[in-house]
């Protein structure tokens, strides 16, 4: 008798669970505004990447064209692919001391694996992730970028 009831309860339980599944897909079918697919080339103008997106390594500059890179070279040492080259120069300070600053912070996008080791290890938070992702170019030399902007200098609020 027990198995007799189980036969029918099984059927009703099965129908109930099937209807649960159909409810989910049915709700999706009748709510097309929930579609998650991005219509990429069409929505290019208003497409905003999410905050943690790893587009490329950039060096943020403030409004006075100042960056935070001291030229210590930790990022260059840590990069597993050798895609960063820091070219330092020594300049004479007004008080007679010599100071090491960067001449060029060269970043080879073509060699980068976006591992974020440079950004994580930078002691002065000079590097960050950019949101740009359309990296296709016709000439691979264009993938070698100089991250510090021309004429930029180091901010005053970095402790020596």
């Amino acid at each position: 008798m027990n198995s007799f009831f189980k036969y029918f309860t099984d059927i009703f339980y099965a129908i109930k669970s099937l209807l649960t599944g159909m409810k989910v897909t049915g709700r999706y079918f009748f709510s097309p505004w929930e579609i998650v697919t991005q219509q990429y080339p069409e929505n290019r103008k208003k497409l905003k990447m999410f905050d943690r997106f790893k587009g490329e390594v950039i060096m943020p500059h403030n409004e006075r064209n100042e960056h935070r890179c001291t030229g210590c070279g930790i990022c260059e040492t840590n990069c597993p692919n050798g895609s960063i080259e820091v070219v330092p120069v020594r300049i004479n300070m007004p008080d007679g001391k010599k100071k090491r600053i960067i001449d060029k912070h060269i970043y080879h996008l073509s060699m980068c694996t976006f591992c974020a080791l440079c950004i994580k290890t930078c002691p002065s938070d000079a590097l960050a992730w950019g949101q740009e992702f359309e990296h296709a170019v016709f000439d691979r030399t264009k993938l070698t970028k100089i991250l510090n902007q021309p004429g930029s200098s180091i901010t005053k609020d970095i402790e020596e």
Binding site: I11, L18, G21, M22, V24, T25, G26, Y28, F29, P32, E34, I35, V36, T37, Q39
Partner: protein, 362 residues
């Protein structure tokens, strides 16, 4: 010649009369058969193309995607582009395959569905051939397709094809029973197997309402069993992409593959139109016995619209099943049929016979 969208009888009869007046009976018959063949062929291609598009769109929406939207507005030309791609593809000949059977198999599959479509009433008078055993004929002919599937699997000389074909065979042998028995339930209520008489019998209410509980159970069983019979998901073990690459049509390419593909969608259409005709009244508008004014309003909607609306509803249900449920294992498939559907179906026939005997139907 009078043409009315509500009743095609006078139109088809005038064409028939015109042919018999101008030709000898033999040639008139040949010309008539050719015309009907061409009409069915064009219809077949159009419905096949549309269903593939509809399936992709429905599937996409159910999975929160957009679906084809690049070729033409909303992607409506996508399936035509796909058809041309398939037509231009190379037909690959398999080494050590049984050439004759390998080439015949797609034609058997497509001819089976082609024959079934001729017995279906589309509207009043729009009915290629009205057998007095229409339902029996459709069941017999539509299950011929499995012969093609088995031949395709056997002749391909490929283990995946063979496993897929054998599964398909086991599946159709089992589920054919449920399809037949659930239709038999309605035949008891209708008292006839002729499609035109079945549709006419639903003038004062569709059979799913007239036969209430047993008819509803039969309708659900028919939906499940016919989904299995057309080898569609969740019963698509015959082609199970994840385990058998493509099952019985793994080795086919180009237009031969397209035949299998088209036949699958046409089988779905045929099964849906049988469900619509037998349970939901076919081309008969929604009538309630006794409500004269309401019935007249419903009569203004053309029968073709009713027919395609109901068929589209059943097809949508089948697509909904496919894109919701996971595929069954072969033992689960057979358990579902032999331990659940078949006993319920037999009891249901008894119930329906009792209801008809006592006059408890509407």
């Amino acid at each position: 010649m009078t043409f009315s969208i509500y009743d095609f009888t006078s139109f088809t009869q005038s064409v028939d009369k015109f042919l018999y007046e101008n030709l000898t009976p033999f040639w008139a018959l040949i010309v008539e058969m050719t015309i009907i063949g061409l009409v069915v062929l064009v219809f077949y291609a159009l419905v096949g193309l549309f269903l593939v598009y509809a399936e992709r769109k429905v599937c996409a929406f159910m999975q929160n995607r957009v679906g084809p939207n690049r070729v033409g507005p909303y992607g409506i030309v996508q399936t035509i582009a796909d058809l041309f791609k398939l037509l231009m593809k190379e037909l690959i000949y398999i080494k050590n395959a049984d050439k004759l059977l390998f080439n015949i198999a797609p034609f058997i599959v497509i001819i089976a569905s082609f024959m079934a479509i001729s017995a279906i009433p589309f509207a009043k008078g729009l009915h290629a051939i009205d057998f007095d055993i229409g339902i029996l004929y459709v069941i017999a002919v539509s299950s011929l397709g499995v012969v093609g599937v088995l031949l395709a699997g056997w002749s391909s000389n490929n283990k995946y094809s063979l496993i897929g074909a054998m599964r398909s065979g086991a599946q159709i042998v089992s589920y054919e029973l449920s399809v037949g028995l659930s239709l038999l339930t309605i035949i008891i209520l209708a008292g006839t197997m002729q499609f035109s008489a079945i549709v006419a019998g639903q003038e004062n209410g569709w059979f799913i309402f007239k036969g209430h509980i047993p008819a509803l159970i039969a309708f659900i069983i028919f939906l499940i069993a016919s989904t299995a019979e057309t080898n569609r998901g969740p019963f698509d073990l015959a082609e199970a992409e994840s385990e058998l690459t493509a099952g019985y049509h793994t080795e086919y390419s180009g237009i031969k593959f397209a035949f299998f593909f088209l036949a699958e969608y046409m089988n779905m259409f045929i099964v849906a139109s049988i469900a619509a005709t037998v349970f939901l009244g076919g081309w008969m508008p929604f009538h309630v016995g006794g409500w004269e004014g309401f019935n007249h309003v419903m009569d203004f909607i053309p029968p073709l619209f009713w027919y395609f609306g109901k068929t589209a509803f059943v097809i949508f249900m089948m697509m909904w099943f496919k894109w919701t449920f996971p595929r069954l294992r072969i033992d689960q498939l057979l358990t579902l049929e032999w331990k659940y559907l078949l006993p319920i179906n037999l009891v249901n026939i008894l119930l329906m016979a009792f209801v008809v005997l006592m006059g408890w139907h509407f």
